[in-house]
Symmetry: C2
Subunit: 407 residues, 2 copies
Amino acid sequence: MIRATDEWVTFERHFQQIIQLSAKTVGQNRLVYSPSWVKAQAALIQFGQQAGLTAMVDHYGNVYLDFPGEDDRVIATGSHMDTVRNGGKFDGLYGVLGGLQAITMLKTRFGAPRHTLRLISFSEEEGSRFNTTFSGSKYYALHQSVGSLSDQNGISFEQARSQAVEQLQAINHVMVKRPALPISFTELHIEQGPRLINAHAAIGLVSGIVGQRRWSVTVHGTSNHAGTTPMNDRHDALQAAVTIIYQLNELAHHLSPNLTFTVGQLTVSPNTSNVIPGTVQFTIDARHADDHLLDRFEQLIGETLNRQTDPHIKYALKRYVQDLPATFDANLLARNQQLAQQLSLTSQVMVSGAGHDSYVMNQVTPTTMLFVPSEGGISHAPTELTYPADLKNGIQLLMASLHAQSY
Amino acid sequence: MIRATDEWVTFERHFQQIIQLSAKTVGQNRLVYSPSWVKAQAALIQFGQQAGLTAMVDHYGNVYLDFPGEDDRVIATGSHMDTVRNGGKFDGLYGVLGGLQAITMLKTRFGAPRHTLRLISFSEEEGSRFNTTFSGSKYYALHQSVGSLSDQNGISFEQARSQAVEQLQAINHVMVKRPALPISFTELHIEQGPRLINAHAAIGLVSGIVGQRRWSVTVHGTSNHAGTTPMNDRHDALQAAVTIIYQLNELAHHLSPNLTFTVGQLTVSPNTSNVIPGTVQFTIDARHADDHLLDRFEQLIGETLNRQTDPHIKYALKRYVQDLPATFDANLLARNQQLAQQLSLTSQVMVSGAGHDSYVMNQVTPTTMLFVPSEGGISHAPTELTYPADLKNGIQLLMASLHAQSY
């Protein structure tokens, strides 16, 4: 029997081993199918096999670690192994290693469960290498394939995938398999926002994921000389863009304080200090739990563009992301709330502002998520931080939840 | 005696010969000391020598073509040979070949003048290759040298200069010399703006050049996740920049309709659609004939930055260009006005919104400029256009002005 302290030492060691794979870069870099990603998934298979779990790898490089139960029904947990460029230590990896830790501790304490326990490490969620997101969970849950995409070095998804996955499938005692779907999925994740910290809560019980839309707006004005063109004879694309963004920010605020509105990308052409901008392209990201409110905001964007008065400036609006809001399973949520109380963990129910593999899994099986606090609300950055005590709280609640479902 | 039509055919041929040097690029590309720039200055020397003028080249590659008079006093005209990247056909080159044409026609019609007539083709005015402007006229008029600068390929100014200038100085019968300053300087140039076209005027009589300042503004906010960060917990650098630009545009408009205000360059970091911008850097270009008004606008910029209320967003303001307004010689202007009337050319007095070699020459000698209309007000672009009739009008007025001063 492993002593409790030893178990956490193992968890720490697993974490360090995978984090060290990015030791030579700024932040964590495990872009899907990259050498460090292969090493990380291979290390995870090794951790699972050492703990006595059965390892499977499918054709997309999703890793499954099963602790077989009395029947074939599966209670699954997990998250994704990939990171954004220069990412943090906890996004994705916490749910993978935390899930492994919970299953290992259940195995040690309670032995074989009624239903099979499964840890899933999805290949890719972030969309940082190829212009596609959630390709791992979409392959598993929805049997969706990625089309012909290439990364910024011109390497195709297919080439990268086959080379990387071959290496994982060649590991001793690894089954090549996409196993059947589970009867529930629980994802442990860092919040990536400041709400738990601000509320002094230990656990976020996630009731769903906001709907999300993204648009690109292109403003075509006239590029000209900054000194010789009178102010009343200009068609300045940047001033037009600034006016629109300023107005949309006000409109978003009045529509709902819970509507997030972000202009994250803006490029100016020709982008020279003494030339009036001729073209500006910018993105709008808006999210809310109510899809009708996003409809209304999209309408307001169109009205705002139409309201501009200079006939020499042309606007093009294109929606390129439209993800509907997701509502997670109410029963799992209610049970997690009870279990948190029993463990004396302060919790709050919240809607996730970010997409997760759970968004995809929720389409095929009852799904729930557990959040732990992110210091400073910072994520997708090397300074991403969750303290060990908070990491343990999340794993303990996950363990209780898996126990309640499987034993 | 050359017939009038032959003279204009020669002018057209000169023009075509130099424009053809950029035949394989988009627009005109004669960056200082580049191969096409060397060919252009060499061709100009050949044109001058064929017309019986004395050619000189100084150490910066400024070309001087003299038609010696009875005394050593010099009446000069000219402009610059370099272009911006992908520039137009007329900016700079018109003043060079138009000046040569005017002197050649005076020589043919009237023979040797009282004062020496000089055409100057300045090496560089645009600042497109090295981070310095007016280096040709500053070397000639102010004896100023360029420090250690390199172009974007890492080639130093000194290396580029010495290799290019050697080739010009090796041409037969070329004197290596920086000659004495003239007693007046007249620059013929396209307007690069729409005012003459809008006013249906043939000639712009330039009374001076606006004062010009440029600032860079850096906005430091906090980069964070676009979905998980509540709106009231954001320090969005782009929204802050948008608010400032929006407010400054209003303030500039109220301060004076003649104040030009341009935000030409704006960069967002990290510039990703689903990440709240952490840093935004932008430039402000402001120009006006009254330097006190620019003082006042600079004060308003500072006040606007100080008025912003989020203590987590920091602003840095840095002025990196401050050129005082220039007032050109009143006597030359008045005479040009009379001469335009005598030639039945409609003219209007105007302040130039762009810098010119005349800005530098005006510091050492009585200076004036003549503008001709720019179709559509377009400049620094391949579509830059002035019709032949307007080109001839400018050259004829220049010829009359040089005649009145030299004979």
